[in-house]
């Protein structure tokens, strides 16, 4: 009976191992398809979106740029023969770069910082940004996911918020006077929602706002009043010009509609007019769209407000950029490289298990089977918990496997000494898990890291430690106890 149980467990382990490493193939539309989920690889192992941004030609012309040629010391060769001249001339042409001046470089650095802020605000993880200090080209590498196209848009998108005189279009408050933008929404008794964008001005902006408030109507209510008054005035003028038959009433109206003393100032976001709802201190509250009880509309207004505040808070683009490259590049670490690495690790593990078998005999053989089952279940767990495996994640897999090896070795060693699996198990668990408490702390912190490489390490370690604890208690312990009985 004991032997049957052991064989059953071993057969189960073999079955799981076959599923994990061989897969489950089912015929789907005239082809065999593996139904076992594939691993999700991180950006360094799978591939990434590469986006290159260059200073737009308009900005380029306006900046002080100069063209330089890198000759690479081949100029002398040019004079010697015609062929060489052609080749070097072509080389010079291909290596011709537009060198930016120090002022432009500073602007490019600001753009790089702004891009970084935007990516952080958008929740992008694992990005790499590099700036070519010679020509101002910015290269951004992003993990390929559903959001990458919208990230690409925000890499070059610009936003301008200003308050202008409605008639003369004179800029009264410029975008640079805005310190911060936040958004919120509120509802009224009827259940309709209104989304607001709140713009906080800096000192210059606040001073300017105070100054213009004396001469300008900015609030939508004030603007509405003035516009209504203007309309009424126009109407009355029309009526009076039409004839004297309505003389009495026209007289009454003209006395009411005196010429407005304040001019109108309006707030524009990228050229689109928005109503100002409230002004408090250095804060201007703008209404995004109209009141709505429709969830889709509300979400659209919220998304618009969130986008504006994100772009406003992440910094300004002192120079405009355009995307010149936007493509997916596969990692240079190929799946074959990963396969070779996995085979090398497997060989090392097999050697260690062989040593266990020699030293601990039957207990070693059972522990080795259990270990193989552990690796198989761990590989399935990683696939079904959707953990993206990064290079750090591979390190976590190795650490988990080593942890399991150490636990098995200690368990076997104690079992050999005291010949009581239960006691040996208790002592081993106490010793190992007390020892790895700092690693568990590290694991939990890394689980919450936004950087996907660290997150991968944390999550893999997290699942690994849990599996080590549960699996060995259930499988390894049972196998060794069956042998003991």
């Amino acid at each position: 009976m004991k032997k049957v149980k052991i064989i059953t467990i071993i057969l189960a382990i073999i079955a799981i191992t076959l599923v994990a490493f061989g897969g489950v193939y089912i015929q789907t539309q005239n082809r065999m398809e593996n139904k076992v989920k594939d691993y999700q690889l991180g950006k360094e192992l799978e591939g990434e979106r590469v986006i290159e941004l260059k200073i737009t030609s308009d900005s380029d012309d306006s900046e002080n740029t100069e063209t330089s040629e890198e000759t690479d010391g081949t100029t002398e060769e040019n004079t010697e023969n015609a062929e060489a001249t052609d080749s070097t001339a072509e080389e010079a042409e291909s290596e011709q770069t537009t060198v930016i001046d120090a002022e432009t470089l500073e602007k490019c650095k600001t753009v790089k910082k702004t891009i970084e802020n935007r990516l952080k605000a958008l929740g992008s993880q694992d990005y790499t940004i590099s700036l070519n200090e010679q020509d101002g080209t910015i290269r951004v590498e992003l993990p390929e996911d559903d959001s990458v196209d919208s990230y690409a848009y925000f890499l070059y998108a610009t936003l301008n918020i200003d308050v202008k005189d409605e008639e003369t279009e004179e800029e009264l408050i410029s975008d640079s006077m805005i310190k911060k933008a936040t958004y919120s929404y509120g509802s009224d008794n009827s259940g309709a929602y209104q989304v607001y964008l709140e713009l906080e001005l800096n000192k210059d902006g606040q001073a300017k706002l105070k100054e213009i408030q004396n001469n300008y109507a900015i609030l939508s209510t004030e603007v509405q009043e003035i516009e209504d008054a203007k309309e009424d005035e126009e109407e009355s003028t029309d009526e009076s010009s039409q004839g004297s038959e309505t003389e009495t009433s026209a007289e009454g109206e003209t006395t009411e509609n005196t010429e407005p003393t304040k001019k109108i100032a309006k707030l524009y976001i990228d050229g689109t007019e928005f109503d100002v709802d409230r002004i408090e201190g250095n804060k201007i509250r703008v209404m995004m769209g109209s009141k709505t009880s429709n969830t889709t509309n509300l979400n659209n207004y919220l998304a618009q407000a969130a986008e504006i505040s994100m772009m406003e808070n992440s910094g300004k683009y002192p120079i405009s950029y355009e995307i010149v490259t936007n493509r997916y590049e596969f990692s240079n670490i190929t799946k074959t490289d990963l396969m070779y690495f996995a085979i090398a690790i497997a060989i090392i593990l097999l050697v260690i298990l062989l040593v266990y078998c020699i030293i601990y005999k039957s207990a070693g053989i059972l522990a080795s089977f259990s270990f193989i089952g552990f690796v198989a279940i761990f590989s399935l767990l990683l696939r079904y918990t959707n953990v993206a495996i990064s290079i750090e994640g591979i390190a976590a897999i190795i650490i988990t496997i080593l942890l399991n090896l150490k636990l098995n070795q200690e368990l076997l060693s104690r079992t050999k000494k005291i010949n009581m699996v239960k006691e040996a198990m208790k002592a081993t668990y106490k010793n190992i898990f007390l020892m790895i408490i700092p690693i568990m702390i590290l694991t939990i912190v890394f689980c919450f890291a936004k950087w996907s490489s660290l997150n991968s390490f944390g999550l893999i370690m997290f699942w690994g430690i849990i599996l080590v604890a549960i699996y060995n208690y259930i499988v390894t312990r049972t196998l060794l106890m069956l042998r003991e009985k």
């Binding site: 690479d72 080749s87 080389e91 291909s94 390190a395 700092p438 590290l442 912190v445 660290l454």
Partner: protein
């Protein structure tokens, strides 16, 4: 006992020498960055048919030397980007001509441009690792002080800080001296070193606690 202490002093001296040498190397010639993060040049070749990366790699290794990266561009597996520290027009022509011997495609050497790729600053690569490492470091320190307070808070504090810091410095120095490229694998090595040193500290503290 005396022999054991001599070995300890010898090991500490070696570690100190390696760290000093590492600092000197970093201050003078700096790190050897992985090509991926270095100022480099690239050419894109549209082969218009399924590419065998091994064949392309053979050609690029022969023309550009071993330090080059080849990557498939887009999902169709028909375009490749070749990256090296520098690519001359002559090298570009040789690559295209040799590729043309294997594959039939339209792109000529004249159509192929050599583009510059900017370097990525080391700080930009690793700044996201600083905060999680710092938080976990502080939490581990608090745990160690509570768990091993009987040994002596100062002793535990010193060991928990010094050992991982020295471990990381040793790793950085070895990377600098041995000219191991700094890049995608460096954070993994740093994490591994952190795990090893923390386990060493915990083991040591456990032994001292047991002895007490």
């Amino acid at each position: 006992m005396k022999q054991g202490s001599n070995i300890k002093i010898f090991i500490i001296a070696i570690i100190a020498i390696i760290i000093l040498a590492g600092i000197a190397v970093i201050c003078t010639i700096g790190f050897n960055k992985e090509l991926r993060y270095e100022n480099s040049q690239k050419i894109d070749v549209y082969i218009a048919q399924t590419i065998d990366l091994n064949k392309v790699k053979e050609i690029t290794d022969e023309v550009l030397g071993k330090d080059n990266i080849i990557q498939i561009v887009e999902i169709y597996n028909d375009m490749v980007t070749i990256r090296a520290k520098t690519i001359t027009v002559d090298q570009k022509e040789r690559i295209i001509n040799q590729l043309k011997e294997i594959y039939e495609f339209e792109q000529t050497a004249e159509d192929t441009t050599i583009d510059n790729i900017p370097a990525t600053k080391i700080i930009d690569l690793y700044k996201s690792y600083i905060m999680p490492f710092a938080i976990s470091g502080i939490l581990i320190l608090v745990y160690m002080i509570i768990r091993y307070r009987k040994i002596g808070i100062l002793q535990v504090l010193a060991r928990t800080i010094i050992v991982p810091v020295v471990g990381e410095l040793l790793l950085i120095s070895v990377i600098a001296i041995a000219r191991i490229p700094v890049g995608r694998f460096t954070p993994t090595l740093a994490i591994a070193m952190y795990v090893i040193t923390i386990l060493y500290v915990t083991n040591k503290n456990e032994k001292i606690l047991e002895a007490k």
